[in-house]
Symmetry: C2
Subunit: 658 residues, 2 copies
Amino acid sequence: MSDYSLEKHNLAANTIRGLAMDGVQAANSGHPGMPMGMADVATVLWSQFLKHNPADPTWPDRDRFVLSAGHGSMLLYSLLHLSGYDLPLDELKHFRQWGSKTPGHPEYGHTVGVETTTGPLGQGITVAAGMALAERWLAARFNRPDFEIVDHYTYVIASDGDLMEGISHESSSLAGHLGLGKLIVFYDDNEISIDGSTDISFTEDVMARYAAYGWHTQSIDGHDPLAIIAATEAAQAETERPSIIACHTTIGFGSPNQAGTSGVHGSPLGEEEVRLTKLNLGIPLEPTFFVPAGVKAFMAGDSGAQEEWQALWREYQEALPDLAVAFDDGLAGKIPTNWDDILPTFEPPKKIATRNASGQVLNAIARHMPNLIGGSADLTPSNKTDLKGEEDIQKGNYDGRYIRFGVREHAMGGMLNGLAQHGGIRPYGGTFLIFSDYMRGSIRLAALSGAPVIYVFTHDSIGVGEDGPTHQPVEQVMSLRTIPNLTVIRPADATETAVAWRCAIENTTGPTALILTRQNLITNNKSSADAARGGYILHDHPNPKAILIASGSEVEIMEKAAAQLGFEGILARVVSMPSWELFAAQSQAYRDSVLPPHLTARVSLEAGVTLGWERYVGSQGIAIGIDHFGASAPYATVYKEFGLTAEAVAAAVHLLLD
Amino acid sequence: MSDYSLEKHNLAANTIRGLAMDGVQAANSGHPGMPMGMADVATVLWSQFLKHNPADPTWPDRDRFVLSAGHGSMLLYSLLHLSGYDLPLDELKHFRQWGSKTPGHPEYGHTVGVETTTGPLGQGITVAAGMALAERWLAARFNRPDFEIVDHYTYVIASDGDLMEGISHESSSLAGHLGLGKLIVFYDDNEISIDGSTDISFTEDVMARYAAYGWHTQSIDGHDPLAIIAATEAAQAETERPSIIACHTTIGFGSPNQAGTSGVHGSPLGEEEVRLTKLNLGIPLEPTFFVPAGVKAFMAGDSGAQEEWQALWREYQEALPDLAVAFDDGLAGKIPTNWDDILPTFEPPKKIATRNASGQVLNAIARHMPNLIGGSADLTPSNKTDLKGEEDIQKGNYDGRYIRFGVREHAMGGMLNGLAQHGGIRPYGGTFLIFSDYMRGSIRLAALSGAPVIYVFTHDSIGVGEDGPTHQPVEQVMSLRTIPNLTVIRPADATETAVAWRCAIENTTGPTALILTRQNLITNNKSSADAARGGYILHDHPNPKAILIASGSEVEIMEKAAAQLGFEGILARVVSMPSWELFAAQSQAYRDSVLPPHLTARVSLEAGVTLGWERYVGSQGIAIGIDHFGASAPYATVYKEFGLTAEAVAAAVHLLLD
C-alpha cells in the first residue's frame, strides 16, 4: 500500500465529512461529530481493506463491518453510497425522514449493506463478537485444505460510549477468551462524550484493560492514513487474539469552532459552521451533498474477491458436494420439516419439568439441524441447554457446538444476534428467566431487527421456590410480552414444550422466548399440537358455564379446579394459552371458538402479574396472579401462601356465577 | 494483630463452614461452596476489622459489608448470628423456609444487618460503590477538623460471577475514576462457576483489568489468615484508590470429595459428605448447627467504636448544631413539606417539554433539599438533570452534588440503590427511557428492597422522532408498570410534572420512574394537583357519553379529540392518567367517580403498546397505541403515520357509540 494516494484519501474523507454535515444539517438532527472524526479511519478501511462486493451484499464470505457507534449513521450511509451499494444520494438527502433508507440509526434489513442494527451503545461490538465467532465456527466446520471458503474479518468502529457499557466489557472479555483473531475494533478515542470531556467519567486505561482481556492493542493517530494502514495490517497479522486500535481523533474534525467539543457530538453544526468547515476542508460550498469526481472510484467495492471466491466455491461444490449443500442450507436458514420423526413424545401422566423436556427436545432437534448451536450464561446444568456428545466451542476448537458464555447474559444476547445475523447459524441461549432483565437491550434489538434467536428461559416463576424473590420472576413473562415481534411461549407440559420448540425453530423472522419451569409438571394426556395456535381448548364440556385460562405450570392447577367445579356440577372449559402472540395471530373465528364472546365468566391463572390479563378475562372476569414480589420457601408452600390454588380458582368461578 | 489467634480463627471459620453445610442440608437447597471457601476471609474481616455494633445495626458510621455473591447467604447469616445480631440460631435452622429471616438470598429490610439485597450477580459490588460514594459525600459535607463523624469502609465479597457481569465492570471503572479509596473488595477467586472451571469462559487477567481501572490490587492465599490481615491493612492504607484483593480459595473447603468442584457450588453436599467434611475439619457430628464455646466471643461485634463515635457526635451537636440537624435530617429521610413555596408554577398555555419542566422542578426542590443528589448516564443536556450552580462530584471534590455516571446505565441504577441504602442521601438518575432496559436489573432490586430512588427517564415515546426505532420506547412504559412497588408517572404537562416530582419525593418506600417527553407540550389550564391521585377528570360535561383516557403527551391529543367530538355534539370526558400505581391506590369510590362502571364507551390513547389498557377501557372499549416498533422521522410525522391522532380517537368513539 506504499502507493496509497494521500490526495485521493483526503478527498474521500472530506467528502464523507461533507455528506455527514449536510445530512445532519438537512435533517436538523443527528450526530455529525463522529463521522467527521472517524472519516479517515473509515476511508482507509473501506478503500484499502474491506473485502466486499456492493453488487452482492449477501456474499457469505464478505468482511463484516459493524458501526457500533450507530449514532454516527451518516458515516455508514456515506460509505455505502460511495462504495457502490444501492443507496442513492437522494436517500442521504432524506436522512432521518419518513420512508427513507437512512434512518437515525442503522437498521438491519432496512438499508442494504447494514449488517446489524446499532445505536444502543455496546450492542454493535457485541454483535460483532458473535459474527466473528460465527466465522470461526463456519470455518472450522466447512473449510478443508485448499478450500478456505470461510475466511473473513469482522471490523467494528466503536466509541467511548460503546466501551463504557457493561455489555461490551462482557463480550470483549469473552472474545479475548475465545481468541477471535479476526475481530478488529477501531476505537474512536476522541475523549468526548455528550456530557463533555471523558475526563469527567472515563479515565481508565482502556488499552490496558483490553490487554487484560487478552486482546492485541495498538494506539495510533486516527487522522494519519499510513498509521491506520499499518495498524490494520498489524491487527490482521495477529491471528490468535482480537485486536483493538485506539484511534486518537478529533470529534467534528475540520470544524473551526466546534471540533473537539461535545457540542458537535449530537447536534447539527449550523449553517454558518458548516460553511466555515467546508471552507476549511476545501469542500465546495455548493452543491450540498457534493461528491467530487474520482471519490466513488477510490472507494468502490471490488467484485474481484468475490469472483475468486466463486471459482473456489464451484470447485468446492464438486469436490465436497455434501458439505456444500450443508453450507448452503445453513445460509438459507433451512429448517427441518419431518417434525414427527424428530420430536420426542412424552407419556402422560409422567411428571417432568419443562426445562428437562426442553433439554430432550433440543437435543432431538439438534441431531437433525447441524447449524443449531448455543449455550448458557453459566447455568448449563439448570437450563438443560447442553448438547449431548458435542464439544464446547473454545479457542483452538471452534468446531464444537456449545458456547460457554460465562455469567454474561447481556453479551450472550448480543452475540446471539451476531451469530444469527452473520448467516449460516441458528443460535440459542439459556439463562434463568429472571435474568432476561439483564439482556433486555439485546432481546429488543433481536425483535427490532428480526433476528431468529431462541432464548431458553428456565426457572420461570415462584416455582423457583427456595431461591426467593431475587430469583423468582413475577413480572418478566408479561414484560417480555410487551416487546413487539418477540414470541413468548410458556408451555404447560412436556408435550407443549416440544410444540414450543418447533414453533421457535419455525419462527425465522424474529426471536422466540421459551419460558420453562424448574419444577416437575404432569404430562397432560390432552396436550396437543394445537399449542402452536397459542391458545386452545384443553378440556371441555357441552355448554360450559365458565372458562379457565392459564399458561405454563398453572394449567395443571386449572385442571384440578375444573375437576373440582365439575364435582360441584359446574362445567368449566380449560384453555391452555402458552403464547399470546401465536394466539393473536389466529383468525377471529378461531379465537372466538376458544373464547366465545358470550362466555364472560372467565378466570385466568398465571404465577405472575395480572396486568394485561384483562385482555382475555374481560371486564367481568377475574385474573388471579401475583402482583407483588415472591418469597423464599419450597415452591408448593409459596403457591399455597400466595393463593395460586385450584380452590381459589373455584371460588372465583363461584363469585362470577353467583 | 500479631497476637491473632489462629486457633480461635480456625474454630470460628470451621463453625461457619458447619453452619453453612447444615443450613443448606436442612433446606436441601442452597450454595454451601462459597461460604466454606470464603470462611477464612470473612472470619478475619468480621473479627478483626469490621467496625459495627450488632446491638445498633443502624449506627450511621458503621462499616458497610456487602455480600455481592448473595447465593452464599449462609455465610452472611452465620456472621450475623455469631457476631451478635438479632438472628437466632433457629432462624439459621429454617434457612430458605416460609416466614424465616434467612431467605435464599439476603434481603434488605427483611433481615437485620443485611445492608442490601443481593443475589443477581454484579449488583452488590455496584451498590457498594454507591455506598462508598455516599460515605465520601457525607464526609465532605459534614466532617470538620477534629470532627470525623463520617469515616467508614465499605467491604465487599464478590465472586467470579460478580466480576463477569457487565454492571460490575461499569461500576468498577467508575469507582476507580472517582478514587473511592475506602471501598475494599475481597474477590473469591476460586476458579469455579456453575458450569465448571472458570477456564472454560473466564480467563482474562482480572487483577490487570482492575489496575487498568485505577484500582489497588493484591493477590493472596484466601485461606491464610495472616495474609488476609496484611492485605486488608494494605488496602486500608491505600486511600486514593479502591482496593481489590484476589483471594485464592478452594470452593467447598474441607469437603474431602467435593472441594474445588462445581458440584459444591449450588447443591447440598449430601448427608454423607457433610459427615466426612465435619470429620475432616474437626467439627463434632452432633448436634448440627454447632457453635463451640468461645466462637461468639471471638466474632462478637464491639460497641466500643460506636461509643467513641457517640461521644464525638455529642460534641459535634454542640459545636455544629446546624450541621448536626442537617445530618440527622438526611439520615431520617426528611423531606420538604412546604410544597407550595417550593414548586414552580407554569403558565398555560405555554409549551414546554416535560423534561424541561422537570429540570426546573428538580432544581427548585434541590434548593430546599440539600441531600438530593444525582446525575445522568452521559445525557445531562438531554435529561435536564443538572443542578444549576452545583459542582460535579469528582475525585478530590466529593462535596459537589452532580454525578457523571458516564454511559453506564446499569451501574447508575445499582449505585443509586447504594446511595439510597447507605442512608443520608436521596438520589436520582437520568437517562433516555429506552435505556431503562439496560438498568432493569437494578430497578427491580430498588423495587424489591424499597429503595426510594428517582429515575428521570426522558425521550419517552415516538416523540423522540428522528432518532428512530432504536431510541423510541414503545414497550418500556407498560413494561415498567409490570414491576411491583415501582411507581411510574408520566405527566401530561409541566403542571403535572411538578406534581410528579412531589409524588416521587414523597414516595419513600420504593423507587419512582418519571417518564418525560423530549417534545414540547401545551401547559393545560385544567391540570392540577389531582394528578397525584394517578388519574383524574381533566375536562368534563354533565352526563358524558364517552371517556377518553390518556397519559403524558397524548393527553393533549385527547383534548383535541374531545373538542372535535364536542363540535359534533358528543360530550366526552377526558381523564388524564399519569400513574396507574397511584390511581390503583385510590378508593374504589374515587376510581368509580373518574371511570364510572356504566360508562363503557372508553377510548385510551398512549404512544406505546396497548397491552394492559384493557384494564381501563374494558372489554367494550378501544385502546389506541403502537403495537410495533417506531420509525425515524420528525415526531409529528410519526404520530400521524401511526394513527395517534385526535381524528382516530374521534372515529373510535363513533364506532363505540354507533
